[in-house]
Symmetry: C2
Subunit: 298 residues, 2 copies
């Protein structure tokens, strides 16, 4: 059996009871280690907690070495652990498909991920549109295809969850060119960098997908003991010190109801200003007022 | 301390280790009991599992009796259990706000909910738009405001998660009028009824938000041992026997990539037909082809 087990967001004890039982009976335990990190537990702490060796699975192992992961999984139990839920990233559906083709039974143990736990900022999950990823800009690579998605979401009043880039086990271009397996220290995008990149692309594209005054919520260390929310305009959050990773951001859409706003105000430095920003922003992309249909005189 | 603890989708052991530790130290344990049900465990089984009495909290208790729930929570620990994740429904942010106003510390223990576990159908969560709820139609109440939301989602290529109505502890109109506290047996909407209602409203509205041939995925008993997916057109799923509850449905958008389609085909009765339906449906709301900007001759 191949178990795909979600670890949840932060603590080693965020694993479900069912997930822990599964891990304990597995002969090999892999931990996906390139799309996210577990904030409050190291590999060694997990090994002690599970009573098992944990094999870190980088992108290469998952994408090219899946035969290693699936080896003998028709005869013994293998666990593949994923921070959050196993179905955040496409590569894991790929692993499931490969297992199925080898007639290896697969069991999924779901858990919380940023995709649903983001609801704890107070905005209804119902009113989120498509999710975007913000990558680290470089001198000559500043991708902005996400801009159209924010525009599409905001045109119909929906919030946009922005996932911030993390770089784990990346090589510098020089080391890659020279074939040296030396890896850069991990990097995690901060809220301020994300907001600066948002502002830069709005400056270039100028379709008013959002403005510097558009309200947003910074979400830091979601699900951990130091979890923090900060409500502010994109411009304000570009100056915000969000502290330790991980972070994500929600760009608000028009559909923010009074109870939700009240909740967000708890996280604002200047409550009146944030309320005014939300009210002003609701005028963007507002549908035309309803006009009663004309009488048909035919 | 008020603990809001997500129970996940199905098994009593879907609670997280951290959640279970919290529940075991609480003096009162409430279970929210009107927006969803835990499929594989009864109240009695939960009580045995936690070693605690579990108080079922119906809508009235949560919305009007929150003082009961919060009583003494500044001095002792109280757990409020929610199937899925605590931030699926607005009423629970309301409970958190009330607790905060009484200076009661609140801790959230997240878990999987349909909002993220739906990813196990193989479609990327990134490409989901706003979520809609489908309620049981009655003779004189056939609400269709969700229709515009499906249209909005599909115009920009996004999938729509449809949550199917459940009726727990509802009174008949007669019993309500006579003030008799007699409750109807619980009812859970089936996939076929949902699809029939979808088809009926498309017949009325005729904006082609979707057609009878639009591809969809029926999701039944998500996260349980009898979890089932079925890929088919809305018309086909209107004839589908989805079995025991709970169910939800995904109406596909244009953004279905090859790997995702491959995954969905595993759940189709007629793979070729489903593939053709997806390809044909991708023509709906397709953006106009890109035209190179004209040379500026000024």
């Amino acid at each position: 059996m191949l178990y795909l087990v979600g670890l949840g967001l932060s603590y080693k004890s965020d694993i479900t009871v069912r997930g822990l039982e599964a891990v304990k009976q597995c002969s090999r335990v892999y931990l996906e280690h390139y799309t996210s990190i577990l904030m409050a537990a190291s590999k060694e702490e997990l090994e002690q907690y599970y009573g098992k060796e944990v094999i870190l699975a980088d992108r290469e192992l998952v994408e090219s070495g899946s035969d290693d992961i699936l080896r003998d999984a028709d005869k013994e139990d293998v666990a593949f652990l994923v921070v959050g839920d196993p179905f955040g990233a496409t590569t894991h559906t790929d692993l499931v498909l490969r297992a199925k083709r080898q007639s290896i039974p697969v069991e999924i143990v779901h858990n919380a991920s940023v995709m649903n736990a983001v609801g704890s900022c107070g905005l209804q999950l119902y009113n989120f549109g498509q999710t975007i990823s913000m990558v680290f800009f470089t001198d000559n690579w500043r991708p902005d295809s996400w801009y159209d998605k924010v525009l599409e979401n905001r045109k119909i009043g929906l919030h946009t969850l922005v996932l911030l880039d993390i770089k784990v086990k990346e090589q510098s271009i020089e080391n890659m060119a020279r074939g040296r397996l030396i890896y850069e220290p991990p990097r995690y995008m901060s809220i301020s960098q994300c907001c600066e990149q948002l502002l830069e692309i709005e400056e270039t594209r100028r379709s008013k997908a959002y403005t510097p005054d558009t309200p947003a919520v910074a979400i830091s260390r979601l699900g951990s003991s130091t979890q923090t929310f900060k409500s502010g305009s994109i411009k304000e959050l570009a100056e915000y010190d969000s502290g330790e990773p991980l972070h994500s951001l929600v760009i608000l859409g028009r559909q923010c109801h009074e109870l939700e706003l009240e909740y967000l105000l708890e996280f604002a430095d200047d409550r009146d200003k944030f309320r005014n920003d939300v009210v002003a922003d609701q005028e963007f992309f507002k549908p035309a007022p309803w006009v009663p249909p004309q009488e048909d005189d035919d």
